[in-house]
């Protein structure tokens, strides 16, 4: 039997005079199936009925209802039995509430609480299946390829697989950490990775070849397990970082104008995709690649500033307001609007706690009297 949804469509085409012979045949078959079908067809095509129903549809203001629905949905309240009563109550209470809030606005400023990010990520397996990872979910997955995954307390680990490796094709998994999130990952070779918000990492389930290659978009701190026989390579959109056994931070967001690699321990070499530069980085040094010009700069830095996020801090040193808010908006998942371009260029220095609510962060920044804020629907307006 043809699906009723297809029949509905064919009936419409018939009514509009654009039915094709094939469809006409399907319609005939359906009509001949039962007298009830024929009756239904005639009822649908009835001119008076069509006119009435078209008027019904044109009078239904779905957009207005959608707006109301969105407001309701945002509050996530289902007040079924009392809803109608509330509607009438609102007619009287609302004007008073508006007047009252207008008066009180001069004394108190009501700002919604914006909490910090949490441990959350999506794991994408080799076959495309996805698993939502949460801080409080603990489980072990035994995969058919022999690998064992453990998820516990915001850390996903791959355990060494049994001996059925070397000949097998390399299968890749991927972890995506959204805005407002962070996660930790231990690869099969023991390499530890701290993943920041809005970051995607692709990595093999087990390292079988002569190299250990992972792909990164976003920000992560790596503690690479030492293995001189198998260099560890981080591939970025515009560059490659080759490692022997070391700890470093990479910040490579797609929308940022530059990417940086900051070395804490060991030695890495850095090569950009465009140029042939192959520069070696020593502890306490940082590379910055300007993505537009392709220019690479090397400088000495205080490494702890660039790795502070994994220690639960934000360390800002004479940093542009716009750059500060790029980092904050990823962690708190807020949109930032600047009243003037000049504000973006102001500079701020300070240490803040990463697990504080956003409101606390703003309060501290506001106390510096450099800038003022307003929060509206997850949008921060900087004045």
């Amino acid at each position: 039997m043809e699906s009723i949804f297809k029949i509905a469509e064919i009936v419409v085409k018939r009514k509009q005079g654009i039915i094709t012979p094939g469809e006409q045949a399907i319609l005939e078959d359906w009509l001949n199936e039962s007298p009830e079908h024929r009756e239904l067809f005639e009822q649908i095509c009835d001119k008076v009925r069509v006119e009435k129903r078209m008027t019904d549809y044109s009078q239904m203001d779905w957009e207005k209802d959608y707006q109301q629905f969105i407001i309701k949905y945002k509050r996530k309240t289902v007040l079924h039995p009392y809803r109608r009563l509330l509607k009438y109550a609102a007619m009287f209470i609302l004007p008073m509430a508006i007047a009252a809030s207008f008066l009180f606005n001069h004394f108190t400023k009501e700002i919604p609480v914006i909490p910090p990010g949490i441990s959350q990520a999506t794991l994408i397996l080799a076959d495309g299946k996805t698993i939502e990872l949460k801080q409080d979910s603990t489980y072990v997955i035994n995969k058919s390829d022999g690998s064992i995954l453990t998820n516990d307390n915001g850390l996903l680990s791959y355990n060494k697989t049994s001996d059925l490796t070397s000949t097998k094709k390399i299968s890749y998994n991927q972890i995506f950490v959204p805005r407002n999130g962070e996660y930790r990952l231990t690869l099969e070779d023991g390499t530890r990775i701290w993943i920041n918000s809005e970051t995607n990492i692709q990595y093999p389930v087990s390292f079988n070849g002569g190299k250990r290659t992972v792909r990164l978009q976003g920000e992560a701190y790596f503690e690479v397990a030492h293995n001189p026989d198998k260099p560890f390579i981080v591939e970025l959109d515009n560059a490659k970082i080759k490692v022997l056994g070391t700890s470093f931070n990479i910040k490579a967001y797609k929308e940022d104008l530059s990417l940086t690699t900051t070395l804490a321990e060991g030695k890495v070499s850095f090569s950009s995709k465009s140029g042939e530069e192959n520069l070696v980085l020593n502890p306490g040094e940082q590379f910055e690649l300007d993505k537009t010009s392709g220019e690479v700069t090397k400088r000495d830095v205080d490494v702890s500033i660039y790795t502070s996020w994994k220690e639960g801090r934000f360390a800002f040193r004479n940093l542009r307001v716009e750059d500060i808010f790029k980092t904050l908006s990823r962690w708190y998942d807020v949109e930032v609007v600047y009243e003037t371009d000049a504000i973006k260029e102001k500079k701020f220095t300070g240490d803040l706690k990463r697990y504080d609510d956003f409101n606390k962060i703003l309060e501290i920044m506001e106390s510096s009297e450099l800038i003022k804020f307003d929060i509206r629907d997850n949008k921060v307006i900087i004045k």
Binding site: F5, K13, E36, L40, I44, D65
Partner: protein, 188 residues
């Protein structure tokens, strides 16, 4: 045209909680589901409550539908079940309510009603996409008015009516053909 039926990415986006996909779902099915529910509960406000609760659930759950047909079946079936619940709850023992409860529980009758509402939904949505003057001509034509009557009603010439009908037909052929292609492509 961005009718969700035509675009399978739309289902994916819907599952991801994409706002535009959700709005599109609302735009395309809200009215017909309200009319569908209203037919049974005889009160548009109650019908709207039922449908909005369904949309609220959809926006929370992020159900994944592998085809538009599955989604449509889910929408109409859920509304039906809510109507049954409400009618039973209200315990209105008048003849109409008991009649409605019977028709709702008979599968065939329910699907016939779905077919009817879907037909009007598609008819309205397709004509709604036409340019304004063509739309006006087509609406009258669908309601059974003759060309001369349409010309008189709209204050245009008989020739103009015919031209608009031709334009409209071309539009609809293209629009409905795309729809048909996608529907048959996904084996509905």
């Amino acid at each position: 045209m961005n009718l969700p039926d035509e675009n399978n990415n739309w289902l994916e986006n819907l599952a991801k909680g994409d706002r535009d996909a959700f709005r599109s779902l609302f735009e395309n099915y809200y009215s017909s589901l309200v009319f569908f529910a209203e037919y049974y509960v005889r009160d548009q406000e109650k019908a709207k409550d039922i449908v909005q609760e369904l949309f609220l659930r959809l926006s929370d759950q992020k159900d994944i539908f592998d085809s538009v047909t599955n989604l449509k079946s889910y929408l109409y079936t859920t509304v039906k079940n809510s109507c049954i619940k409400l009618l039973k709850h209200e315990k209105v023992k008048d003849r109409y309510s008991s009649y409605v409860l019977t028709t709702l529980t008979v599968e065939d009758k329910f699907w016939n009603k779905v077919l009817e509402e879907e037909a009007y939904r598609i008819l309205y949505k397709s004509i709604d996409k036409l340019p304004p003057q063509t739309k006006a001509v087509y609406q009258l034509s669908m309601s059974g008015f003759k060309n001369q009557e349409i010309a008189d009603k709209l204050g245009i010439s008989l020739e103009t009516v015919k031209t608009h009908k031709q334009i409209g037909k071309k539009y609809l052929q293209k629009y409905m053909k795309d729809l048909f292609f996608i529907l048959s492509f996904f084996n509905i």
